[in-house]
């Protein structure tokens, strides 16, 4: 009965069945100004939830930030080794020896091959503010990547603010990094500037740069949500052919945050690109919310309290009819495009001041009460809020 206008987009289906996910919650996520850096026990709990969701890799910290970061990253990598988790660990650092060395030390101490995500500011805005020349940036890139590779790290070379960087600068930086041994590159919308058109143009260009090197190098996409387009940009990157996309639980991160990992998972599942088990998704966001002291918004898509709740009489009539007929699938489908069953959730009728008797009837179908629909409705109207 339903027609899915989204699925005929065959490019998405053909290109990216193998797209992987990188969780940035424990690194970029903790840079959110109002988030708390949780104790190590909490980080380990979050780590196991990432594993349960089938997330492929996690950036587990920036050891160059100080002794506490080193201790936490070491404990997380040890946990991955101890439990033989599939989750692949990586660490962030600037393209500086002072940031690379602690990653090398942790790799040696834990016996785990680590991915080093080495970043450099590449946009002309940053170059101008810092008085950097391209020659200097190329030299820094070469020294850092060569050193990290020599020390046994797998290097992902990251240009910050890629979306506002000049194509020729990007070509030279990435070609240098790849020639020095980087096996993965990351395109970043560090400041949340991109639109989906911009992402596609950038990814297309970078695929030609990689192709020109003749090397087999993977491409990542890392986005922020300053304009409210983080998720759409990430899906555009998948459509344009990147190999891995980054996200954080609840979208926590610098300023207003990163692409929410839970929304990447839900959308890729609905698009049939991934088939991960999402039954622990609510645990994942609730756990991060609790430990990082970041509230889960009521209206947060798929996972907020109100995402499967209706008080509206305009929706209730057809929903109550389907519920009474026992047409569960049609009921769920008419309720929301995200099936509650995917997440272990039940669509709920609720009664508020703008509800009608039909909402109260729906509520009584799902709950036991001695009140009549009219009495319920009268209470909601008196209190001027949802019961």
């Amino acid at each position: 009965m339903e027609f899915d206008w989204n699925l005929p987009d065959s490019a998405l289906l053909q290109l990216n069945q193998q797209v992987q996910l990188q969780d940035e919650t424990l690194r970029d996520g903790l840079q959110r100004p109002s988030a708390f850096d949780p104790p190590i026990e909490a980080k380990l709990e979050i780590l196991h939830l990432m594993e349960a969701l089938g997330i492929h890799g996690a950036d587990v910290g920036l050891p160059g930030a100080g002794p506490r970061a080193v201790a936490d990253v070491t404990a997380i990598v040890n946990e991955i080794v101890k439990h033989n988790l599939k989750l692949k660990p990586s660490c962030a650092g600037r393209t500086l020896k002072v940031d690379i060395q602690p990653i090398v030390d942790i790799a040696q101490k834990t016996g785990k091959v680590l991915e080093a995500d080495l970043f450099i500011g590449s946009s002309p805005v940053r170059q101008y503010a810092e008085d950097w020349t391209l020659e200097k940036m190329l030299k820094v890139t070469e020294e850092a990547v060569v050193y990290a590779v020599e020390q046994g790290l797998e290097v992902m070379y990251v240009t910050e603010d890629t979306i506002r960087s000049h194509p020729e600068t990007l070509r030279q930086l990435y070609t240098t990094a790849i020639e020095c041994g980087a096996i993965r590159i990351c395109l970043c919308d560090t400041v949340g500037h991109a639109t989906p058109d911009g992402v596609k143009a950038l990814v297309r260009f970078m695929r030609t740069v990689v192709k020109d090197t003749g090397k087999s190098v993977k491409i990542d996409w890392h986005g922020h949500r300053d304009r409210g387009l983080g998720l759409a940009n990430t899906l555009a990157a998948v459509e344009a052919g990147v190999d891995r996309v980054h996200g954080t639980a609840l979208g926590i991160g610098e300023r207003v945050g990163n692409t929410p990992m839970e929304h990447i998972l839900v959308n890729l599942k609905l698009l049939k690109v991934l088939d991960n088990d999402l039954s622990r998704l609510q645990d994942y966001v609730d756990t991060v919310s609790r430990h990082c002291k970041v509230p889960l918004p009521h209206s947060w898509p798929a996972l907020g309290r109100d995402s499967f709740r209706t008080t509206s009489p305009r929706s209730a009539e057809r929903l109550v009819e389907l519920y009474e007929l026992g047409e569960r699938q049609l009921f769920e489908s008419a309720f929301s495009s995200v099936q509650g069953a995917l997440l272990g959730k039940q669509p709920q009728f609720a009664v508020g001041p703008r509800s009608g008797a039909i909402n109260a009837r729906g509520w009584l179908l799902q709950n036991e009460s001695n009140l009549s629909p009219e009495e319920l409705l009268a209470q909601a109207r008196e209190k001027r809020c949802v019961l």
Binding site: R227, K293, A350
Partner: protein
């Protein structure tokens, strides 16, 4: 050195050469009433709020329906007309002759054409009710379209659940409506199922339907946020030829909300499609949040408390270096895709566990304190041991006896 000289904008790499802003319909008054987390404000509060909404320069203010809420809708319509607001008044209506007649009379009484968004009374997901029921529903819709046209009302036909409608259903429903007086159609993604790619395909298909009848496509778009894509879908719909977009402030609506009006305007402004002063936006949104008693969370784009804050050393250092060059715009853009000043805000540098010396130097300078090595060390040490960004009180406590300075 200018912004244009420095920034290579990939968004304009091969996108549309120039886009013009769509018309915007403000649905806040209608949709916020369905947000489970919001309170229901009294009519007097909504009458005051209308004036603030009008400050945003939207084209239509849709204030309610013609059912049980008609008395309140009428009061709101009257306020728009009597106060000579810039926005035109609009309502939604079921396929109901007396209601349409009432609207025609009200338009005449108020001396202003009220725009009508006509719900058809059925959706593509109700085919399970059988062919006879669907045929009857179509007939009722068609009669209403013709009746409204006869009354001279300015009508847009809503298409609920268009994003999941089979192409044949759209042809069978919209074809007769277009033949019989429907001039404009609003495609609605009722359950938030669309992706940008799906939105584009649906809009292009519907435009073709108009074209095949020799009509100029006149299309609206409205969508919900169940998958987190309502804003991106709205921008795509416009890029594909929709001339008018419906939205609600803060995306207030049922379930996960709908297209957030303020983010739509912000994106159009940043894309260069709108040339409008945006400084009133934050105040209007704050007023909506207050009226409906909903919280603007810290991580809400542009309006949230964290939107222009950083506690990260690398970011702070770059902002400070840009400030030292005497270029305010550079400091505002170096680590932000949205210029804070455009919306009446500024970039804030905080001190937390990821801070570097730059953050501390900046804080001391802002607070009129000399940056002695002892002070810098004391604050940095406290920050590195903390699990959050330090409050001013915590920083002062780290400075010990100097806390009262």
């Amino acid at each position: 050195m200018t912004e244009e000289e420095l920034i290579h904008d990939w968004n304009r790499f091969d996108g549309p050469a120039a886009i013009h802003a769509p018309e915007v319909v403000d649905l806040t008054m209608v949709e916020a009433a369905h947000a489970p987390a919001s309170r229901h404000p009294a009519l007097s509060e909504r009458l005051r709020l209308l004036h603030r909404l009008d400050e945003l320069g939207v084209d239509l203010l849709c204030v309610g329906g013609t059912g049980a809420d008609w008395p309140e809708t009428l009061a709101l319509l009257s306020e728009i007309c009597e106060s000579r607001m810039k926005a035109r008044p609009a309502v939604f209506c079921q396929p109901d002759r007396p209601a349409l007649e009432r609207l025609a009379e009200t338009s005449e009484t108020l001396g202003t054409a009220i725009h009508v968004f006509l719900n058809p009374g059925f959706s593509p997901l109700q085919d399970w009710k059988g062919d006879a029921w669907v045929a009857q529903a179509r007939e009722t819709m068609l009669e209403s379209v013709m009746f409204a046209a006869g009354l001279g009302l300015n009508v847009t036909l809503n298409v609920p659940d268009a994003a999941r409608a089979h192409p044949t259903w759209l042809v069978q429903t919209l074809g007769p409506a277009l033949d019989n007086g429907a001039e404009r159609v609003c495609l609605i993604d009722t359950t938030g199922s669309a992706t940008p790619a799906g939105t584009g395909q649906l809009v292009r298909f519907t435009r073709e339907l108009f074209a095949r009848k020799g009509l100029t496509p006149r299309l609206d778009w409205f969508g919900y946020n169940d998958r987190g894509l309502s804003l991106a879908n709205a921008l795509t719909a416009h890029e594909c030829g929709v001339q008018r977009v419906h939205a609600s402030i803060l995306g207030l609506s049922e379930r996960s909300g709908c297209i957030p009006l303020e983010l739509l305007l912000i994106n159009l402004r940043l894309l260069g499609a709108l040339d409008r002063n945006m400084e009133a936006l934050a105040g209007v949104c704050a007023r909506v949040a207050e009226t409906y008693q909903v919280e603007v969370l810290h991580n809400y784009p542009v309006l949230g408390k964290d939107a222009f804050r950083t506690g990260t050393g690398v970011h702070a250092a770059a902002i400070i270096k840009a400030e030292r060059k005497g270029l305010t715009w550079l400091a505002d853009l170096i680590y932000s895709g949205v210029p804070a000043a455009m919306f009446g805000f500024e970039q804030l540098i905080e001190v937390g566990p990821m801070a570097g010396e730059s953050n501390v130097l900046h804080w001391l300078a802002r607070n009129g304190l000399e940056a002695t090595p002892e002070r810098v060390q004391a604050i940095l040490q406290a920050a590195k041991q903390a699990d959050h960004v330090l409050s001013p009180e915590e920083i002062r406590a780290a400075l010990g006896e100097e806390a009262t300075l």
